[in-house]
């Protein structure tokens, strides 16, 4: 018996010449950075010293270290809305009609004495006055800020009384809260 074994190499190679499809896999690398904002003032106590009879027109500058890795707004709220004489009860203070804030000492019927003193707050190109941050309100200071890691100067400016107006004796104070609100990117 003669048997021919024909190994069909040609056919096999023909099959091998087919091209394989391209293969693609993906490496996905990811990470997350949490939002973080911090405002650190150079000092938390601003002392204007002796205010004099009408309040000395003075400026107190404070540098704040501001860090925020996301866009943000800043706003201000105030306990008293102005520098308020701590020795005077709230029932003895009223507006004098010329100011949005209630500063006049009402037991004095002559209209001479005042028990509160307005001030302004300036950050960059934004300035707020006592009328803006009256107690119970939140006043926008700056909006749509880009992420920042800078020292930001903030100025506090006394607004002196005018004319015959005089300050009653006592300690004047206010507590101001500056809030940073992240807004996104």
């Amino acid at each position: 018996m003669k048997t021919k074994l024909m190994l069909a190499a040609g056919a096999a190679l023909a099959a091998l010449s087919l091209s394989a499809p391209a293969q693609a896999e993906t490496i996905n690398v990811s990470g997350y950075v949490n939002q973080y904002c911090a405002l650190t003032p150079g000092t938390t106590n601003i002392a204007f010293g002796n205010l004099g009879a009408q309040g000395v027109a003075s400026t107190f500058n404070v540098n704040y270290s501001l860090y925020c890795n996301v866009g943000f707004d800043t706003s201000v709220s105030s306990l008293n809305g102005r520098l308020l004489n701590g020795n005077v009860s709230s029932g003895n203070i009223a507006a004098d009609g010329s100011s949005a804030t209630a500063n006049r000492y009402t037991p004095d019927t002559t209209g001479t004495f005042y028990a509160a003193l307005d001030y302004t707050l300036t950050s960059g190109s934004s300035t707020l006055s006592s009328a803006d941050f009256t107690p119970g309100t939140i006043a926008p200071l700056t909006t749509s800020n880009a992420p920042t890691n800078l020292s930001v100067p903030v100025s506090f400016n006394i607004v002196p009384l005018t004319g015959t107006q005089q300050l009653t004796a006592g300690p004047y104070n206010d507590t101001l809260t500056i809030t940073i609100t992240p807004t996104g990117l």
Binding site: A8, Q23, A24, N28, V29, T148, N149, L185
Partner: protein
């Protein structure tokens, strides 16, 4: 005269010999049957045709890949961008033909996807950020560069910049690493993603960072 056509197949080149071997035994048996039952007298010529083929095949496996267009997910701790860990992947490449391997980044950096489109300005200061219409944010970046390197069968794959490492975004999205045509092989592929730490004065913007790197095996025939 009779003929039998016996075929066999395998899905990998390395299995080719085994495929033929497996075919021989039943072939002999069937030839014997033909001799005894079909033709009892005289010489006979019997053509036995043995065929086999290997389906062309390229596959990437390891790190959980199934070889069907999968994705490997890795998370990098970005809480301290001044000290970042590498991502190391140990993969395996098997290709029955000549092939080219490519590693193709989508963004060419780990990009903050929380940033409004267009706010990142790589052409200005690397990966700096500015709010639309605004000034550049100081002290922050919205993307993280990385170095990408790949070693196949002990040989470093070249980057487009002819350097051992690939640094984004200078090489640009879609550039990546491509090999020259390689012979059929079954070998280890090591991929390293080395995030570039930020200078001390620079931080990362808040948000979700992502990069996708496609590993592509493209058969080149024989």
């Amino acid at each position: 005269m009779g003929g039998w056509r016996v075929t066999g197949g395998a899905n990998a080149a390395l299995a080719l010999a085994a495929a033929f071997t497996l075919c021989v035994a039943p072939l002999d048996a069937r030839a014997g049957e033909g001799h005894e039952s079909g033709h009892g007298h005289g010489d006979q010529d019997q053509d036995l045709v043995l065929e086999g083929h290997v389906t062309p095949h390229c596959a990437l496996s390891g790190e959980g890949l199934s070889g069907a267009g999968g994705t490997i997910h890795r998370t990098i701790d970005l809480s301290n961008p001044h000290a970042l860990a590498d991502v190391q992947l140990n993969l395996h490449v098997a290709c029955t033909q000549h092939f080219v391997i490519g590693l193709i980044p989508q963004y060419a950096r780990m990009q903050n996807l929380s940033v409004v489109n267009g706010a990142l300005q790589p052409a200005v200061v690397g990966d700096g950020y500015s709010a639309p219409g605004g000034a550049m944010a100081q002290g922050f970046v919205g993307a993280l560069k990385y170095r990408l390197s790949a070693v196949l069968n002990g040989a470093q794959l070249p980057s487009n910049a002819s350097a051992l490492s690939y640094q984004s975004p200078g090489d640009g999205p879609g550039a990546g690493i491509f090999s020259t045509p390689l012979p059929p092989m079954s070998g280890a592929l090591s991929v390293t993603i080395d995030p570039v730490e930020l200078p001390a004065a620079v931080g990362l913007l808040a948000g979700f960072y992502e990069e996708n790197i496609t590993i592509q095996l493209t058969p080149q025939g024989y």
